[in-house]
């Protein structure tokens, strides 16, 4: 008997991050085997990798045996490290870790059952980008499916949390359901109950059951001719990069996870449909007239976004402000060459004009903080019971500019220059303020600030922003007839205007550079693409280095100066 004849251990690799119970999971697997008379060996890498980093645990389970004969060991010689191409089961506690297991060759289409939690724990690179740095999860799921013989994927983290347990338990349940190990569910459960305290074991068993059921749902073999989403599926070994000498059994499931992306797209389509059929049903009664105007005068494709913009601007200021919003978008719609089609330019204008017009100022933040639905949302997030007492404390740090910006123009301008006023504000706020929104005085203060809304149009910042918005739209509308794509990209540049304080200043700077670049790119081939790339660069870092170098790359270094 030898390896190729099947005298080999079942090999299991667990990829987890520190604190996720990877050690507990591999311990359960090892003791499960031992209890059934198998020889188990587990190893792990201890050390700093366990401080939130990715780490790997490895278990080998050798079937009951008679010993090795005279010259050899009586116990099987087991390996301490997974061998690429020879791993039977890979368990990954997170989707990118599953991708890492694939990348390292532990997951192969001829052999490996891959059990992976589809939740994402974003890497620091993904989290710290100024814009959207997230990697494509769908690419990870597709790779996991294609690289494994059998892929069991579900959000095992959510299941564990719902059971008030740790992901190791729900993954252990999925392992039991996957059938990759020749042990019964009861034997699996015994491994949990035999280790640890009873109270913990109960929670673990709940999570185990949830993981078991989810995995069963995820692994049902499809009936003859089953398809996903009505598309016929043909899978062959070549397509999956399989080892050519082995035919690859592929299991497909009818029950795919509810893909939030698809669900959102469906909901969006439904909203779109409703916007077309009954536009007034999507806004409050005071906006019904506006909604009818949108239906009559604007491209169909932009309607949903416009209705959202209407609601946003009206809530932010008043109905007159919504009129102003519609007038602005109308300017763009008038030059949209694809009015009757997708109307991308108008839709993007409907989005970005509304966002800019509703810039975050003290009044708006105060309004957001004092809304009832917001307080309910906070309560839900804190996991407080409906009857439980809860307080909400805001961490605010109003800057002098933010205060003077909110004041009537003349007063604001005067105070902004006043050294005395600056000192007073500094003394009060420089260490930051903590406001208890759920206290009588806290709520009164914030709701009073929210009620300053009617004063806003007379404020310093309001006037300034309206000027900038009009100048921006002037440029877009001016360019549109000549290069509609560039005009659309100019409209999209609003995306870099974000943040508060220094971050916002940086955004304004980037915006200025982008607009300057747009003017220079005007008339050039591929100007829109270039501007889009510059905008992405503006969202890479906070010191503008990426944007400067991107500008230099397209020969626009002098824009910075």
């Amino acid at each position: 008997m030898s390896w190729t004849d099947g005298q080999r251990p079942i090999t299991v690799a667990v990829l987890a991050m520190g604190g996720e119970g990877g050690g507990v999971l591999s311990g359960w697997i090892a003791s499960l085997g031992e209890a059934q008379g198998w020889t188990s060996q587990s190893t792990s890498v201890a050390g700093v990798a366990q401080r939130t980093g990715a780490t790997i645990y490895y278990v080998e389970l050798f079937p009951p045996h008679e010993g090795g004969g005279t010259d050899a060991r009586q116990e099987p010689v087991l390996s301490m490290m997974p061998t690429p191409g020879e791993v039977d089961v890979v368990i990954a506690s997170e989707l990118m870790e599953a991708g890492r297991a694939v990348q390292r060759g532990f997951v192969t289409p001829d052999r490996t059952t891959l059990i992976a939690s589809t939740n994402r724990v974003y890497s620091i690179t993904e989290r710290s980008t100024l814009g959207d740095g997230r990697v494509d999860s769908q690419a990870l799921i597709t790779a996991a499916g294609a690289a494994s013989r059998h892929f069991v994927g579900a959000d095992f983290m959510a299941l564990a949390l719902a059971a008030k347990s740790v992901i190791s338990a729900s993954l252990f349940g999925a392992l039991a359901a996957s059938g990759a190990l020749p042990f019964s569910r009861e034997e699996f459960e015994a491994a949990i109950t035999q280790t640890g305290k009873a109270k913990k074991a109960d929670a673990s068993l709940r999570a185990f059951a949830a993981g078991f059921e989810a995995a069963q749902g995820a692994t049902e073999p499809p009936p003859e001719g089953a398809t996903l989403d009505g598309t016929p599926i043909t899978v062959d070994a070549e397509q999956l990069n399989a080892r050519p000498r082995n035919p690859v059994p592929v299991m497909l499931s009818l029950r795919r996870p509810p893909d939030p992306a698809e669900e959102a797209a469906r909901a969006e389509a439904a909203a779109q449909e409703r916007a077309l059929a009954d536009p007034t049903s999507l806004v409050g009664r005071e906006l019904h007239g506006h909604a009818r105007r949108v239906a009559a005068d604007f491209p169909h494709a932009a309607r949903l976004m416009l209705l959202r913009g209407l609601q946003r601007t009206a809530l932010y200021q008043d109905l007159a402000y919504s009129d102003r919003y519609l007038a602005r978008v109308a300017r763009v719609a008038a030059v949209d060459p694809d009015r009757d089609g997708e109307a991308v330019m108008t839709t993007e204008a409907a989005r970005h004009v509304a966002l800019w017009m509703c810039y975050h100022d003290t009044i708006h933040v105060a309004l957001q903080k004092t809304r009832q639905e917001r307080l309910q949302r906070v309560r839900d997030e804190a996991g407080a019971d409906p009857e439980q007492l809860m307080q909400v404390r805001e961490f605010l740090h109003p800057q002098i500019d933010e205060i003077t910006d909110t004041m009537p123009t003349a007063l604001g301008a005067r105070l902004a220059k006043s050294a005395v006023f600056g000192k007073v504000v500094h003394a009060v706020t420089h260490k930051g303020m903590v406001v208890n929104t759920t206290s009588a005085s806290g709520y009164a203060t914030l709701s009073a600030i929210a009620r300053l809304r009617p004063m806003r149009p007379r404020s310093l910042r309001f006037g300034r922003e309206q000027q900038f918005i009009d100048a921006w739209l002037d440029l877009a509308v001016d360019i549109a007839p000549q290069d509609p794509d560039l005009a659309t990209e100019i409209i999209r540049c609003e995306r870099v205007l974000k943040g508060y304080g220094q971050t916002h200043e940086h955004g304004q700077e980037s915006f200025g550079l982008l607009i300057e670049a747009a003017k220079r790119l005007r008339g050039q081939e591929g100007a829109a693409r270039q501007l889009a790339r510059l905008k992405e660069a503006a969202l890479v870092d906070e010191d503008g280095a990426a944007l400067r170098s991107a500008l230099a790359n397209v020969g626009l270094a002098d824009v910075v100066a």
Binding site: W3, G53, V77, I124, V135, E220, R371, A382, R393
Partner: protein
């Protein structure tokens, strides 16, 4: 108190003869020490042998019963020097530390010990931190064995083999008067398995006996002329005695010695990987029935020339598996074979990687190359990993787009008190400009990674201050910053860093991160730990120590989460005209250890009906503009991103996950860095008092009254009842959204 408790596991250490002992490598080693009649044990924690120290600590009762002395050494040098007790007395002693870094620190004592030699068995158990998962420079302990002439054991990764290595190691040490190093590789420390136990043995002579009957022998002390005699003794007496014992005891193993005219020589620690490679190639089975002759070196130093020559006799070629570099063994074998005029060709690093870990892939590929050259018919199976990476059948064929798999370096835990220190330092540097930062070893070294990106060099444990010693210029308009942890501070930083800075009038700012534990190694106590320890003397303040050594400008911050205050203090320390080193002791308890202590207490209090307030932070998605500035000065694992719930906006917003422990760093950062108004803290009250309830009633009434106008106005603008269509749609890119999928499964 250490991070992991072995209180349950150590009970197995009482097991008697004939019983089967099951457990991890570190427990097996501990049991083997007790079976060997060890008289004293010491060491310094560090992966991968941190847990060996924790096991010994948790086993103190058993050790006391057997009259075994145990201490947590101040450093590896201390641990190695402890072995001096075995010089004159027939006491068996063992010390343990991480290698090669610990061995570096210990080498002064080890060299002196090796020179004079030992009477009682002296065992140095080194946790070889090499290969995947290692946190240190990639070097070999082998060099230390050679330079000081200590014997080096590298047993097969199997608990029985490891236990035997401990037992025969003591004997080998005694017959050859030489300290013995037992190398435990990274994965062997936590390798599970079983072995047949023996009874524990009370040491024939205890430490007490030795103290009461002092002995001396000047010929064992390293001072001329004895030191010259020691060198001769090593060659004329100790080496031959060791070789004789190793041969007689059969410490090295021959497998299938005459099965073929080629063979493989392997370090014991690599044996299992080699057997797996041979299995994959069809040359061995699961029980090690190899078709290729093997010589397994469970003792890698000294090399037994006779055994090597015996193995190579009549063989055309042999392959040596020697992990790491330089290739000391290969060089040595070449000399042995050449001197003896042996004809076998020796292969090694010509067919295997010169540097790096000998993974199954590396070993299988190297062995396959060797066998195909000399005995192709032996290879009856071709594992997939032999295929070129470009072959679609290779396990390394690209199956996932490289860009979607990003590195995940270790970082500071959720709620880590060191995070606000680096946030504050980053904010201080915004005002003072950048400085040279000399970093140290410990969790705080994670500051060199994103998002902090602080720290230029690290020269070793406790050497943060010393690492900045040269960058001290009277003409410069700024000073150097040095970081040190409490572990490193007590290990040597007090003298090598602080004392040095005082003496040389260094102008640096030294930040001592005092989290009350040796946190990176698993939460062991140090001198300044806050906890009362029944076994050790703690609660010795760091500030008092630095003042005692001559620092004038020293201050202790007892709450590192006050980011703005800490930032201002940094700015002050970086700009003050006060001469000499400026020391800031930044003190807050390691959150990992704190939660382990506090969480059960809190759960108990809640169930006992006591009033408890549970805090956590949150981010208002609609107020957050998705610029992630908060993440860039924090990096907390619980502060992450989620798709923007606002269908008009594109970029993901910040969010706080349920793992938040309410440490407060988000709020403090929002203030200190003037971030944004999105952060809030929720205080959920368990078991409220009557006063709480009354106050809440008043407040709720007031709030509901004041909010009426606001809500009424909004009601005319928004759609009530089914607002979902306009507000909860998720506009994020499709792929990213899939990440947040829930419940049922994907299957392919």
């Amino acid at each position: 108190m250490a991070e992991r408790s072995f209180a349950q596991e150590v009970l197995a250490l009482r097991q008697g003869a004939g019983t089967t002992f099951r457990g991890e490598g570190i427990l097996a080693v501990t049991k083997a020490l007790l079976q060997s009649g060890v008289a004293y044990v010491g060491g310094y924690q560090g992966a991968p042998i941190s847990h060996l120290m924790d096991v010994l600590g948790d086993a103190h009762e058993i050790l006391e019963e057997l009259d075994v002395y145990f201490e947590n050494s101040a450093s590896e040098a201390t641990a190695a020097a402890m072995l001096a007790a075995s010089v004159h007395y027939p006491l068996r002693g063992a010390v343990t530390f991480k290698s090669t870094v610990g061995t570096n620190v210990a080498s002064d004592a080890l060299a002196n010990l090796s020179s004079g030699g030992v009477t009682g068995g002296a065992l140095v158990i080194v946790g070889e931190d090499y290969g995947e998962g290692s946190s240190i420079m990639q070097e070999r302990s082998h060099a230390f064995a050679m330079k000081s002439q200590m014997w080096l054991l590298d047993p097969r990764p199997n608990l029985t083999a490891i236990v035997e290595a401990v037992e025969s190691g003591f004997e080998l040490s005694e017959v050859s008067n030489t300290p013995v190093m037992l190398q435990l590789r990274l994965r062997s420390c936590h390798l599970t398995g079983s072995f047949v136990a023996k009874d524990n043995k009370r040491p024939p002579m205890t430490v007490t006996d030795a103290v009461e009957n002092p002995k001396r022998d000047v010929s064992r002390i390293v001072l001329p002329p004895a030191s010259f005699l020691h060198e001769q003794e090593k060659i004329t007496h100790r080496w031959p005695a060791a070789v004789k014992f190793i041969q007689e005891r059969g410490m090295n193993e021959f497998f299938a010695e005459d099965a073929a005219d080629i063979g493989i020589i392997v370090q014991g620690g690599l044996y299992n990987t080699l057997n797996r490679a041979l299995e994959l190639l069809g040359c061995s089975d699961a029980f090690g029935n190899s078709a290729i002759p093997l010589y397994c070196m469970n003792v890698t130093y000294p090399i037994v020339n006779d055994e090597v020559l015996r193995f190579c006799e009549g063989k055309r070629a042999v392959l040596l598996l020697e992990e790491g570099q330089p290739d000391y063994i290969e060089q040595s074998l070449n000399a042995i074979l050449r001197r003896a005029g042996a004809t076998a060709a020796l292969h090694g690093k010509d067919l295997l990687p010169v540097a790096g870990e000998y993974t199954p892939t590396a070993v299988t590929r190297g062995v396959a190359a060797f066998l195909k050259k000399y005995r192709p018919e032996a290879v009856t199976s071709e594992p997939a990993l032999l295929r070129p990476d470009t072959d679609p059948g290779s396990p390394f064929a690209p199956r996932v787009e490289p860009a979607v798999v990003q590195p995940r370096p270790p970082g500071l835990c959720t709620g880590c008190p060191e995070r606000p220190i680096f946030s504050a330092l980053k904010l201080a540097e915004r005002e003072t400009g950048q400085h040279h930062i000399s970093a140290d070893i410990g969790c705080h070294l994670f500051s060199i990674n994103a998002p902090f990106n602080l720290g230029a060099t690290t020269m070793g444990y406790g050497l943060g201050s010393a690492g900045g010693a040269a960058l001290n210029s009277k003409d410069a308009d700024r000073r150097t910053i040095a970081i040190m942890g409490d572990g490193g501070f007590w290990h040597n930083g007090l003298t090598s860093g602080v004392g040095n800075a005082v003496f040389n009038k260094n102008d640096q700012l030294l930040v001592v991160v005092d989290n009350a534990y040796s946190a990176a190694t698993g939460g062991q106590d140090v001198l300044s730990s806050q906890a009362q320890s029944p076994l050790r003397s703690t609660q010795h303040p760091i500030e008092k120590a630095v003042r005692g050594i001559g620092v004038k400008w020293a201050t202790t911050v007892t709450n590192t989460f006050k980011v703005a205050e800490l930032r201002d203090l940094f700015i002050h320390a970086l700009t003050t005209d006060e001469p000499g080193p400026k020391v800031i002791v930044a003190q807050s308890e390691c959150q990992l250890n704190r939660q382990r202590r506090v969480a059960p207490e809190r759960a108990q209090a809640i169930s006992d009906g006591k009033r408890i307030v549970k805090e956590r932070f949150g981010v208002d998605a609609e107020t957050c503009t998705g610029d992630h500035a908060c993440i860039r000065i924090s990096g907390c694992p619980s502060l992450t991103i989620k798709p923007n719930p606002d269908p008009m906006r594109i970029d993901p917003v910040a969010t706080v996950t349920d793992s938040c422990v309410g440490c407060g760093v988000c709020g403090a950062n929002a203030h200190a860095a003037s971030l944004c108004p999105s952060f809030y803290r929720t205080d959920v009250v368990f078991n409220p008092t009557r006063r709480d309830k009354a106050l809440a009633k008043v407040r709720n009434g007031w709030i509901s009254m004041l909010s009426k106008g606001i809500e009424r106005r909004a009601a005319g603008i928004e759609v009530s009842g089914d607002p979902g269509d306009l507000t909860v749609l998720d506009p994020a890119p499709a792929a990213a959204r899939a990440a947040h999928s829930s419940h049922a499964g994907v299957s392919a």
